[in-house]
Structure formats: structure tokens, C-alpha cells
């Protein structure tokens, strides 16, 4: 698939938050063959020395800064511009959140930010609550992909928004990337089987007992789900249909 002029062959995008050690990030990236990773932008803490996250992201990866911390479109635009000026490319994940309990995105502000940043030449991937009309407006606003949530961020609850995501996949001519909430590889596979273009996973990998192995497991599930989607699953029916011939039995 192509996004923002880049050929993306690995459909697992990885978030870099919550790893117990930054050293696990490049290992997870390599184990899963990940091409797109997200980072955030924050104030430097003057009291404590901090590690440079970019040093842990392999150079051939696309580093996609998110606008986390933004509470409205204007703040998201500011963060995106700063991130681009810092020389980390022109991809941005729009994340506008003012709800602190469920961390649900503000779709209205997200549309506004998408429009401004797409107009400035950014490759904009907006994180959104799945809603068909909002997704259509994001297309008009110039988004490069649409990223509906599967469940609240960091909840590992799975593809709770299944029906709405399915409608987006059906109706929206852009890649639909399920972002947030996927807790297990089987859930990522399910999203891919439905026709999602990719999934973005962070917490489920970073907080696993063995994050590197889990990154690999997600990568395999995503590839399997994609292959199944392309293969076209057979129909499901109410009653049994014998798989072996119903003639030539030995009993008579």
C-alpha cells in the first residue's frame, strides 16, 4: 500500500510508549519488520537527563510524531509544525483529546487540524472515533488515511467498534488503520480480515511479558489477516455442510 508517496509493505505500525526499556524498541521493530513507528513531542525535563528516542528507531523507519497533548486543532497544528521543523519528515498522527477518562478523540477538532496540515503538505493520519460522516470529511480535508479506534487507548479490549470500522472500510476510499485498543494478535488479524489496511499497536506489545516476541506475533497475525482478506473467506451458514463426499459410503 502507498501512503504519502511511501510504499508500505508491513501493515503493523508500532507505538513506542510504555516499553520497560527503550532498548526493546529497535528489537521489536526488527522482530516484526515494522516500517512505521510513532513518537510524541514533549518539553525537555531540565532536572533529569533523558534518552533520545530517535536513537532507538532504525533509520529506515518512518517516524510519525503524534500530536498527543493537544486539546484542540490549534495545539495539534503547533505540535505538527514543530515536529516537522525538527526534521523528522512530514508524517503526522493527529490526536486531539480533551477527555481524560476514556481518551476519546475530538472528531470536530481533528477534522480542522487535518484540513490545515494537509494544506501545508503534511501526510496526515488522523486518529478518530469511527463515524462515517466524520471519515468522509477527513477525506475531503486531505487525510492520507483514517485511523479509527478499536477500543479506548491502552485498554487492550479489542475491536469493540467492529461494525463502525467495517462501514468505514466499506465506504471510505482511503486506507483504514485500526489504532488503539487492540490487545491480542487475534484481534489484529480480525481487523485485517475485515479489510483494514493496517493496525497501529502499542500497549499490547510494549506491556507484554516478552514485547519482542509479541511484536513478532502481531506481525504474523497482521500478515495472516491480510492474506485471508485477499483470499476472500467463504460464506458462513447456519447448519453443517459435509466436507467429505455424501456418496459411496461403506455401510450398505
Amino acid at each position: 500500500m502507498e501512503i504519502g508517496g511511501r510504499q508500505i509493505t508491513n501493515r503493523l505500525f508500532l507505538g513506542t510508549g510504555k516499553f520497560s526499556s527503550n532498548r526493546l524498541i529497535p528489537e521489536a521493530v526488527r522482530a516484526a519488520g515494522v516500517q512505521v513507528v510513532t513518537v510524541a513531542l514533549r518539553r525537555v525535563d531540565m532536572e533529569f537527563e533523558q534518552e533520545n528516542i530517535a536513537a532507538y528507531i532504525p533509520e529506515d523507519c518512518i517516524m510519525m510524531p503524534n500530536t498527543s497533548g493537544a486539546r484542540n486543532a490549534q495545539e495539534a497544528v503547533r505540535i505538527a509544525r514543530l515536529a516537522r521543523a525538527a526534521g523528522c519528515g512530514n508524517w503526522v498522527k493527529i490526536e486531539v483529546i480533551s477527555d481524560n477518562r476514556y481518551l476519546l478523540p475530538d472528531n470536530y477538532e481533528t477534522i480542522k487540524a487535518t484540513e490545515i496540515l494537509a494544506g501545508e503538505g503534511f501526510v496526515v493520519l488522523p486518529y478518530m472515533s469511527p463515524d462515517l460522516m466524520v471519515a468522509k470529511k477527513l477525506v475531503e480535508a486531505g487525510a492520507a488515511a483514517v485511523m479509527p479506534l478499536g477500543a479506548p487507548i491502552g485498554s487492550n479490549r479489542g475491536l469493540k467498534t467492529r461494525e463502525l470500522v467495517r462501514i468505514l472500510i466499506d465506504e471510505i476510499p482511503l486506507p483504514i488503520i485500526v489504532d488503539a485498543g487492540l490487545g491480542r494478535p487475534s484481534e489484529a488479524a480480525e481487523a485485517m480480515e475485515m479489510g483494514a489496511a493496517a493496525v497501529l499497536v502499542n500497549t499490547a506489545i510494549a506491556t507484554a511479558g516478552d514485547p519482542v516476541a509479541m511484536a513478532r506475533a502481531f506481525s504474523l497475525a497482521v500478515a495472516a489477516g491480510r492474506l485471508a482478506y485477499l483470499a476472500g473467506p467463504g460464506e458462513s451458514v447456519e447448519y453443517a455442510r459435509a466436507s467429505s463426499p455424501l456418496t459411496g459410503f461403506l455401510r450398505d
Partner: protein, 66 residues
């Protein structure tokens, strides 16, 4: 002299440039982003900006995130 560094009132010597501030704080210029009075300042211009009373300086960096 007082400036607002990452939102906090901070005392700095008169005549300090952005480069000087970065050096004083022992920050690696390669890994940070500097915003001066809400304008992004590229590294090559840090030397030319002398901080003034009540200036607002934000020093940012990329961190882990989803």
C-alpha cells in the same frame, strides 16, 4: 534576568543567547527543538538571538509515544 523556560520562571544571566542557554543546560543540540516567543528557531539561528526579560522559551524533544 527572568525568562519563562518551559513555562517556569527562570533566572538567567544577561546577554545569554539561545545557544548559550542550550549549553548552560547541557542539552544536546541535535536532539532538541527550540521555540522562542512561539516561533520555532532553527539551530543555525540560535547564536543570533539574545534573550530578553520575560521571553518565553520552549525546549522540546521527541519522546516515546503511541
Amino acid at each position: 534576568m527572568n525568562i519563562y523556560l518551559n513555562g517556569k520562571a527562570t533566572d538567567i544571566p544577561d546577554g545569554l543567547t539561545i545557544s548559550g542557554l542550550v549549553a548552560q543546560r547541557r542539552l544536546n543540540p541535535e536532539t532538541i527543538i527550540v521555540e522562542h516567543n512561539y516561533n520555532l528557531v532553527k539551530k543555525e539561528h540560535w547564536d543570533g538571538i539574545v534573550l530578553k526579560e520575560n521571553d518565553r522559551v520552549e525546549i522540546l524533544r521527541f519522546v516515546e509515544g503511541g
